[in-house]
């Protein structure tokens, strides 16, 4: 049995072509640039045979055949145009347009609508309907992001099949029967999904539209640029559509098979309003006598350079520190290290949040490798909360390959699939994982003790097997920052040490690059605030006046990812390209420009563009030795996990939510409903035991502090005995707490206005 796939030769419209056996006609036609119209067929969703628009004439068959479900056969002769085919298409279009409302002038899809396009190409023009069109509900508020228009819907079921095949969430379903078929969710339940925006792209007509884009623009008014999204570590390719200097919407990149496969998560898709938010910083601000004073760029850079020189001269380079870089491009991250190391400073660390490691190690896999895994071991913060596109790959492995899911600790699975759970990584030995040949391990990069225990187990299985490791961390370009060397080398302090030094008054100057440690740095907002307060000169580059920027001495207005060019690494370490899609507000500079200006003021040589590019992209990024690489952690951090005494109370789980945060999401008013409330989520059983109900208000109490006024939510999939809160909420920052610690609930009350 040889491995070469069999090939088939057929003729389409007089052109002979040879394709692999099993190819669908609709795909074969694409090879000769013949577009057969389709609605329900989608390359990623497969054929459904519902719309009937793809009818073609296959010789020797009496009836027209649908190209989406006909596989090529040797010697097949196909006609995709001609009277027979045109009659069929005209018929189908007449039926589709019959009760379709004449909404084109007010429909968002106008200009990029498949129904419009095919009607012009294949339709018959006038309608023969002598009766009123069917009236159905319009502008249905389907959920926080999507509006459904039943009248426009052609029931192609791309949206329901997307929810069934790709996300496995099955929130959208078809209800009723016949002409009354309607797309709906479970009664009374909104359509809430991290991937809801994709249905607006899948929908061939304007039935599903995005709330953030409704009535905003026409596609021909938009200028499109292809760039990379930097809102999470996944690194999806993204199309940015701007008009008059405003980013109006983003769209997926169908050809991005390496990462996103043509899908986008809602965070990347919808969090774009902040680019034109009036609260954007547009000039350097200096705090003088408790007031903010505007400064010119030259003065600001000069002041900064002067302060740095003075600090080095009087207290040595040990009194300097640079934090952040996980949200910068590779080029910018590289320059941070370059400039500060030129001053002799080794207190450089990108880790201003929970994530402590970015590179998984030499066994790091690609996105495609996830799909081929036979078993998936998931530890820490779920991929669905940190890199949703990775979560789709995990779901694909489960649904299409039957991969087995093993959850460790309190991992919350976002979908209902069968899984095993063990308490700790070392417990994985009790499962029979050695019968698999390809296993993928996911860690969030937060707790190095968990990471190294997991690493040990993974290594024990590595012999004769394919092991793929991934870190789905919370910081977007952590891989790039780490890879460019923003980790302290010998003699330097890591971020925890830097803040400790700050606290003790040992730092003279601190630079924070595009980071918000007040909100995200473990140790608590108070500790971080206190630390920063004790540093005489703090410079922050930011887009908005975040809690960290508020406490700085000098705030420099920076640019966002869509306004910059450069490169990042996705979480697998592959280089991704950024191209500017929208003009930045006047007065802002990218961190690259800021650093070059600073270097110039300091008299430090900066590598030229070619050398910088080579450094940022072509050099292989630094690779850790595995999960929990000791080079990245202080000794104390790697102490073995203790099985603590059974404390009474609940175990805390700090989950991530891509719509939390104090920067781009906080300052994006288009996202109103998507910003999460401060919640405490429990399983039904735990809530019953604790005596709380969904919707109650409660305080979370621990030694480190209290979070008051959390809304109780009950959810399935949450481990009994745990309570889950969200990281990064400006109103209820969780940075003082740690996942796994014991907390208690107190002061349960019913909110006012509820019976």
């Amino acid at each position: 049995m040889n491995g070469a796939p069999k090939e088939v030769t057929l003729t389409i419209d007089g052109t002979q072509l040879t394709v692999p056996e099993g190819t669908l006609l609709v795909e074969a036609a694409k090879r000769i640039k013949t577009d057969i119209p389709v609605y329900c067929y989608h390359p990623k969703l497969g054929p459904a045979g519902l719309c009937r628009i793809c009818l073609v004439d296959v010789e020797k068959t009496p009836k027209l055949q649908i190209a989406c479900n006909t596989t090529v056969a040797e010697g097949m002769v196909v006609h995709t145009y001609g009277p027979k085919v045109e009659d069929g298409r005209r018929a189908v279009l007449e039926f589709l347009l019959l009760n379709h409302p004449l909404d084109c002038p007010i429909c968002d899809k106008g200009g990029e609508c498949d129904l419009q396009d095919y009607s012009i190409a294949y339709g018959q023009g006038a309608s023969r309907l002598a009766d009123p069109k069917e009236i159905k509900p319009k502008a249905i508020d389907l959920g926080p992001t999507i509006v459904l228009d039943d009248e426009r819907c052609i029931v192609c079921q791309r949206c329901t099949r997307f929810d069934e095949i790709i996300t496995l969430e099955r929130s959208l379903v078809v209800k009723d029967r016949g002409q009354r078929d309607v797309i709906a969710t479970a009664t009374g339940t909104p359509y809430v999904s991290m991937f809801s925006g994709n249905v607006t792209e899948l929908c061939p007509v304007g039935a599903l539209t995005s709330k953030t884009y409704r009535f905003k623009s026409r596609p021909w008014d938009l200028n499109r640029s292809l760039t990379t999204c930097v809102q999470c570590s996944a690194g999806c390719a993204i199309n940015v559509d701007e008009r008059h200097g405003e980013v109006l919407r983003t769209m997926s990149v169908p050809g991005d098979d390496a990462v996103s496969e043509g899908w986008l998560c809602d965070r990347g898709r919808y969090n774009v309003g902040f680019y034109s938010d009036p609260r954007r910083l547009t000039s350097p601000l200096l705090r003088r006598d408790g007031e903010w004073v505007q400064l010119g760029w030259d003065d600001a850079i000069d002041l900064w350079a002067k302060t740095l020189r003075e600090a080095v001269d009087s207290a040595g380079p040990k009194s300097l520190a640079a934090l952040g870089g996980g949200r910068l491009t590779n080029e910018e991250a590289y320059l941070v290290g370059h400039v500060f190391r030129a001053l002799g400073c080794e207190n450089i660390d990108w880790r201003t949040g929970r994530q402590r490691q970015a590179s998984p190690g030499p066994r790091g896999g690609t996105y495609a490798d996830v799909e081929s895994a036979q078993a998936l071991v998931l530890v820490g913060v779920p991929a669905a909360q940190t890199a949703p596109i990775m979560s789709l790959r995990i779901r694909k492995a489960v649904s299409q390959r039957g991969a087995r899911m093993i959850l460790v600790g309190d991992y919350v699975l976002p979908i209902r699939v069968a899984h095993d759970r063990v308490a700790r990584p070392r417990d994985l030995a009790s499962l029979d994982l050695d019968r698999y040949e390809r296993i993928a391990f996911f860690w969030d990069g937060i707790d190095p003790r968990v990471g190294s225990e997991l690493n040990e187990f993974a290594e024990s299985l590595a012999e004769g097997r394919k092991i793929f490791t991934y870190i789905n961390g919370e910081t977007p370009n952590a891989r790039g920052a780490e890879g460019m060397g923003l980790v302290p080398r010998s003699g330097g302090r890591d971020s925890v040490g830097i803040l400790a030094a700050a606290h003790d008054g040992n730092l003279r100057a601190l630079a924070i690059f595009a980071a918000n440690p007040v909100l995200h740095m473990p140790g608590g907002a108070n500790f971080v605030r206190g630390a920063i307060k004790n540093v005489p000169f703090v410079v922050t580059t930011e887009l908005f006046m975040t809690p960290t920027a508020e406490r700085s001495t000098l705030v420099l207005p920076a640019r966002g990812p869509f306004e910059k060019s450069g490169h990042t690494f996705d979480l697998t370490g592959a280089a991704r390209v950024l191209r500017p899609g929208v003009a930045a507000p006047t007065g802002t500079l990218s961190d690259l420009e800021i650093l070059i200006a600073l270097a110039s003021a300091l008299g430090v040589d900066v590598p030229g563009p070619v050398a910088l590019h080579r450094q940022a992209v072509l050099h292989a990024p630094w690779v850790a030795s595995g999960f929990g690489d000791p080079a990245l952690f202080a000794e104390g951090e790697l102490k073995a996990l203790r099985a603590g005494p059974k404390a009474s109370g609940l175990r805390l789980v700090i989950a991530a939510d891509l719509f939390s945060g104090g920067g781009t999401v906080y300052h994006d008013d288009r996202l109103g409903e998507l910003r999460p409330l401060a919640t405490a989520t429990l399983s039904e059983h735990t809530a019953a035991v604790a005596g709380v109900h969904d919707g109650d208000l409660v305080d979370l109490v621990a030694a480190e502090g209290t979070l008051s006024g959390l809304v109780v939510r009950l959810a399935p999939n949450h481990v009994d005995g745990t309570v889950t809160i969200l990281e990064g909420l400006p109103d209820a920052p969780a940075s003082a707490f740690e996942s796994g610690q014991t907390v208690a609930l107190a002061n349960v009350r019913v909110p006012a206005g509820v019976a």
Binding site: D141, V147, D150
Partner: protein, 248 residues
Amino acid sequence: MTASRDFAETLAKVKPEAERLMAQYPQKRSALLSILHAFQNAEGWVSPEALAAAAEMLDLPVSVVESTASFYTLFFRRPVGQYVLQVCRNLSCQLNGAEEIMAYCREKLNVRHFETTYDGRFSYEEVECLAACDRAPCMQVNLEFVYDLTREKIDEILLAMNAGNFEVAPLPQTVKPDVTWFVAHEGEKKSPGAQGVSSPNDPGGIGDPSGRQMIERIVRDPRLVEARPTAERLVRDGAARLEAGAEH
């Protein structure tokens, strides 16, 4: 309609039957229709609680169970009467006088197709071929056949049902039914439950699903308001012109 029943009791009754049904099939999802029949037999209709319970038992999302249930016409998604009268309106019955019979039923019960009588006793539906064409016109009462319908026969059975001694047992009725059990559009105009979901009439920051804001903006644009003749202004301007002695 208020739920004046204890669903836990129904669930306890249906659960053993459901387990037996699920065990019969290689995949337990196959038991869904039969489980919904069991709930309907117990309560008289397929309630939201029943759908949720079925979803739980079969490990399915509620949305999928609702989608499946909504496909089949024998599942009543809202409460119905104690006697569900389903008269055949298809070809062979029509050829044998079904139209007259249906008109008579509607007249006697004072209902239309898909409606329940005011006292909540009879629900009336016109259905498709019941496979009793040799005894046309015919109907089913609670899925039991009543053949060879005539006006007299209709009178007879209605009498018996009202008296409670008809050969077919009434359905259990846990909730008093409304006028109809027909679910017009399964989609709702507003999806409650999302945190702070905006109303189409007051969208706040998230954009305007109904387009109303945009229309408001156009209609109330001050530059346009001034230019637009309103009745009031026409009268006012007309009076002013009269005063000024202008010609009209």
